[in-house]
Amino acid sequence: MSPRLAARLGSGLFWAAVALILAYMTIPALVVLMTSLSPSELLEFPPSGLSLKWYARAVSYPDFQAAFANGLIVTAFASTCALAVGSAFAYLIDRYVFPGRAALEAVLSSPLIVPHFTTGFGFLLLGAGLGIGRSYLLVILAHVMLVLPFVIRSVYVSLRNLDPHLERAAANLGASPWRVLSRVTLPLLLPGMAGGWLVAAILSLTEFTASLYVTAERTQTLPVAMYTYIREYTDPTIAAIAALLILGTTALIFVANRYLGLRRILSIDAH
C-alpha cells in the first residue's frame, strides 16, 4: 500500500468515525423530528407520510400554551435572579481572598453533583414546610439554584479574562470606583453575563426532573406538561411539541454563539 493511499484511507476512516459520532448524538432528536411529521394517529417510526397537522394541534393545545407561558415566567425570573446572585458570587470569588472561599466554591457548584431529583424533592418538602406550596416562588427558587453554577462559571471566566490593568488605567484617568465599574468593568463583562443568562434560560426552560416535584397543575412548565400529555395520549402531538422545543433551543444557542461567542465565554482564553 502506498503511503498516499494509506493517508487517504486514514483520513477516510477518521471522517467515517466523525460521521458515526454525529449520527449517534443526533439520532434521538432526528427520530422525534421525523415522527412529528407523521400523518398517523399513533406514534410511529419511521413515519408513513408527511403532515404538519400535529404542529397545529401542539401550538393550539391549551395545556401546552399555559405551560409555555409558565415556563417563560419562571425562566425570566430564575435566570435574572441567578444572574444577579451569580455575578456577585463570581466577583467575590475572583477578587477577594477570604477564609472559606474554597468551601463556597464547592457549595456553589454542588447542583452539578446533587441529582435534580433530590433538589426537586427537597424543595417540595421545603415549600410544604414554609407553607408556600407549589407556587411560582418555589419553582423559581428551585430553578435559580439549578442554573446558578452555570451563571457563576460564565461570569467568572469573563472576570478572569479581564485585564486588571484596564481598571487601573480607568482609575488613573480619573474614574471613581463607581465609574470604573459602570464604564469599564461591567461593559466588558456584559457578553459573559448575557451568555450566562442565556445558558440559564435554556436550562430552566427545558428542566424536567426537579420541576416535576415543585410544580402544581397551575404552575407546571412545558416539559412537565409534555410528561403529563404522554401519559394520557399516544398521538404525535408530543413529538411536534418536542421538536419545537429542540428547534427553539437550537436557535437560541445559535444566536448566542453568533453574537456573544459562547466558546469565548465558557472557556478561559489563552492570551
Partner: protein, 372 residues
Amino acid sequence: MGQGAAAGTPPFAAETAVELVGVGKSFGPVTAVRELSLAIRRGEVLTLLGPSGCGKTTLLNMIAGFEEPSAGRILIDGRDVTEVPPYLRDTGMVFQSYALFPHMDVFENVAFGLRMRKLPKAKIAAEVMRALEMVKLGGLERRRVRQLSGGQQQRVALARAIVLRPKVLLLDEPLSALDKNLRAQMQVELKELHERTRLTTLFVTHDQGEALSLSDRIVVMSRGEIQQIAAPIELYRHPANSFVASFIGEINRLPPARCRLSGGEIVFSLAGIELTAARRDDLALGDGQQVHLFVRPEHLAVAAEAAGGRNRIACRVVTHVYQGTHTLTRVEAGALGVLQLRVPGGAVIERAPPGSEIGVEINLDEAVALPD
C-alpha cells in the same frame, strides 16, 4: 509654593514635581522597596533603571496610588497624596500592556479622562484631535483598538495619558512589547514628544540603552535600593559601585589590584602584571589601596606587536561578533581572564582569526577604580 514649612512638612521646592520622602514597601516579610527619598524635577525625564524585581515598578505603582507605601510620604506638586486614591492624583500612566479599553474606539479611549473631568463636548473633541495629531495618529480616531498594530496601540496609550496634561507622566516599560526597529523609532518619538510637552516624566525600564538615550537623570536600582542617581554620561563614566558599572553598558572587570603612587602615575599590580595610569582627580587612590579596575571594551585596542609597550598584554583570540560599525572581540588574557574589545569596523576578523595571538593595549585613562 513653599507653604509646607508652616504645616510642619518639609519645605517643597517649586522646581520639584514629585517628592518621595522615606518611602518603603514590604509585602509581608518581603521588602520590595527599602525606605528611600527621591525628588523628580519639574519637566525632566527621570528613569528608574534596574533588573526585574528591583522595586522600580512597585515605586511607580505607589506614585500612581495602586500600591500603598508601608512607610513614608509621597508629594505631588507639594501636596501630600499618600492617602489620596489613584483617581484623584492626576498622574498619567502608560502601561506595559497599554491597557486600552477594548470596547471603545481610539477617540473614546483618548477622550475617557476628559469625559471623567466632565469637559464640554467641543473641548473634548478638540483636545483628543490635538493629542492624536501629536502622536501621529490623526485620521485613525474611529478605529477599534484591536485593529491597531502594537506601535499604534502604544501611541494611543500615550495620547490618552498626555491629553490630560498630568502632573507627572508615568511610563511603565512602554517599549518592551515592541519589536526592535519599532522600539528605536518610538524612542526618538518619545524624546520629541517630551521636547514638545515638557511633561515631568518618570520612566521605568530594565533596558539600559533606553535609559541612556531618553533620560535627563537615571536612578539605578537593585534589590529595592537606589544604587546611584546621575545623568546618563556621568553614570556611564563614573559608576558609583560595581553593580552600576556592570549594569550600564559592557565592561571588563579586572582581578583585584593594589595601587602604588609613582610620580605622576598610578601603578596597579594585579595577577602578576603591572598596569599604569596617569593620575586623575577622580582617581583619588591611596598608596597600597586594594581596588577593582573596570575597563570599557572601547578602551581596549589591538596593538601592533604582541608584547612590549605600556599596558600591553599578550592575548589569544576566542571569538569575533561582527556588529556592522564595530566588532566585539573576546580574547583570553592569561591571568586577567577573558576580556572584551570593541574594535571599529570588521577588519580584525580576517587579521586576527580565532586562536591567533595578538597584543591588547589597555587604556586606563577612563577606567573606573572601585574599592574592593
